[in-house]
């Protein structure tokens, strides 16, 4: 099992806060066609296996996976759906190719968040129905509690969180697919409406619609398809206990362990030195800081300091979320992990245009499945 695997194609639909003009199939079709064009493959002939990532409740369907093959070119082909973020799909595609059974695998995930009429109720269905759900609490109560605990234990501050928001929204100004870019000050974040103290309105990402498709290939095929294959160097994933009552509220242990698994595979011993930039989960501002520490991009308690010193700016020593992250791009539900990988691939290829980071050889991407989950994945990508 020494087969190397590369990303050879990426495609995405127009990301927007609302897409009343296109159905989810059409967004998937757009992303798929662009990805296959980018990879130079014919989906009906060349792609061996397809993986779609979706969640029935986000879609408003039962057994949603039945509805994915046709718009991906996957009818009468091996198809499976993973009920998780798209990054899990990429990891599974990587493993499928490593088995030797398949040479080219396509992965899809999307968000039609604007179709969900009662988002908070749908999200609250993720609470334990016996211990938590009868209390009728808003799912972001979990974010408010976790933010307070994390800031207290780590020594990072609400001001640091506000700096993350200002940085990411500024970065998003140069990202064509970002919907929530703006030039604001940390002060604007701190004075925005308090929703779940200490969490303020601008500390939380807004939802966005869009689809992403990623094409992966085995080394020998990848080299024929492209001059700039982006290699999967390491993968990891992990889930903590689901119980609010028994989880670690202070650290993102799921991310720490997923990162260690991926780093070991990628032979990353000193992430802060070996990694050039990071695309990590910032569904809430404090999560970027917590995940930076979990991924050992800095020492515990020092994430905020790095942000304050400008180290994580796009032109800093360790850019974090040069795309603008979810705070700037929007939160695309299960497509989140694919957006992180999409941005990393464009940066590593040197195709990120105005937002290109100066040095892009090795990147870490990371995703968290959002409240109230304790699941996440990490993928390390590189040019070599």
């Amino acid at each position: 099992m020494t087969r190397r695997v590369a990303i050879v194609g990426v495609g995405y639909s127009d990301f927007r806060p609302a897409t009343p003009d296109v159905a989810f199939h059409e967004m998937m079709f757009e992303a798929a066609v662009k990805a296959y064009e980018d990879a130079g493959v014919n989906p009906r002939k060349d792609i061996d296996s397809f993986i779609a990532c979706s969640e029935d409740y986000w879609e408003g369907f039962s057994i949603f996976d039945e509805f994915v093959p046709d718009q991906l070119g996957a009818v009468l082909k091996p198809v499976c759906t993973i009920s998780a973020d798209g990054m899990y799909g990429v990891i599974n595609a990587y493993l499928q190719i490593r088995t030797g059974a398949f040479d080219i695998v396509a992965v899809e995930a999307h968000s039609k968040a604007s179709d969900i009429v009662n988002m908070w109720h749908v999200m609250a269905f993720a609470f334990d129905p016996i211990i938590n759900r009868p209390l009728k609490m808003h799912p972001y109560v979990i974010a408010g509690l976790e933010m307070m605990k994390f800031l207290k234990d780590s020594g990072n501050t609400e001001e640091h969180c506000a700096m993350v928001v200002a940085k990411n929204k500024k970065n998003a100004m140069k990202t064509p697919y970002a919907s929530y870019g703006s030039i604001i000050s940390p002060e604007d974040v701190l004075t925005s409406e308090t929703l779940f103290h200490p969490l303020k309105k601008l500390d939380a990402s807004e939802f966005v619609d869009g689809a992403v498709v990623i094409v992966l290939a085995a080394e020998e095929v990848a080299r024929k398809l492209t001059d700039t294959p982006i290699w999967i160097k390491g993968v990891g994933w992990c889930t903590d206990t689901p119980w609010l009552e028994f989880r670690d509220w202070s650290r993102a242990v799921y991310a720490e362990m997923a990162a260690e698994m991926a780093y070991k595979m990628a032979r990353i011993h000193e992430p802060a030195k070996q990694i050039d930039f990071a695309e990590i989960d910032d569904k809430f501002s404090y999560k970027e800081l917590q995940h930076m520490e979990a991924l050992r991009l800095c020492r515990k308690g020092e994430a905020g300091l790095l942000v304050e010193e400008g180290v994580t700016e796009r032109d800093g020593d360790l850019p974090v979320n040069p795309s603008g992250g979810f705070l700037g791009v929007g939160n695309p539900l299960e497509a989140g992990g694919l957006v992180k990988i999409l941005e990393a691939v464009l940066q590593l290829r040197g195709e990120a245009g105005k937002r290109q980071v100066p040095k892009a050889e090795v990147a870490v991407t990371q995703i968290w499945r959002g409240v109230p989950t304790t699941s996440g994945a990490v993928v390390v990508l590189g040019r070599e």
Binding site: G60, I130, I131, L135, L145, T194, F196, E245
Partner: protein, 157 residues
């Protein structure tokens, strides 16, 4: 066929759907006894894993660390402390709450676990991390063996 430009998204054709999802969720062996103790006796119980040396609260029938079956039931003092809290200003519809809700993670001495629940009889600005709290239960005749038998936690006297 019209070539008129549609500017109002409300005029895009869409089909309103409603997924009715009614379930009964089985409380299970641990939940049965845990909630019965609250309902009948107003007492909190956890289950002990001797091997790992921890007491799970709320009670459960297996240890997530060593996967032993847990059979030893231990009474847990209902007096806990606020490990962290949040003040919610928004409801599940996305509307501003008229009266903000205070939610806390409450830890109890000597156990692994705790409870997420509301705080009452306290103003948002008075809540502090580490504050000692105790549960306020529904009157016994109104209890139904549910987490809502606990109305909220209030500052302990």
């Amino acid at each position: 066929m019209s070539l008129e430009k549609i500017r109002d998204p409300e005029r895009m054709r869409r089909w309103p759907g409603h997924m009715e999802t009614d379930y009964v969720y089985t409380v299970g062996l641990a939940g049965e006894r845990f909630f019965r103790e609250i309902k009948d006796n107003g007492k909190f119980y956890g289950t002990r894993c001797e091997k790992c040396g921890i007491t799970y609260f709320p009670a459960r029938t297996f240890c997530e660390r060593c996967l032993s079956e847990l059979k030893e039931w231990v009474e847990v003092s209902p007096r806990g402390y606020v490990e962290m809290y949040t003040i919610a200003y928004m409801d599940l519809e996305g509307n501003k709450l008229e009266k903000p809700e205070i939610w806390a993670f409450i830890r109890f001495e000597g156990v692994f676990g705790g409870l997420v629940h509301k705080l009452g009889e306290v103003k948002p600005e008075e809540v502090k991390i580490g504050m000692v709290v105790e549960p306020v239960l529904k009157p016994k005749e109104q209890r139904e063996g549910s987490i809502t038998d606990i109305l909220y936690f209030k500052p302990a006297k």
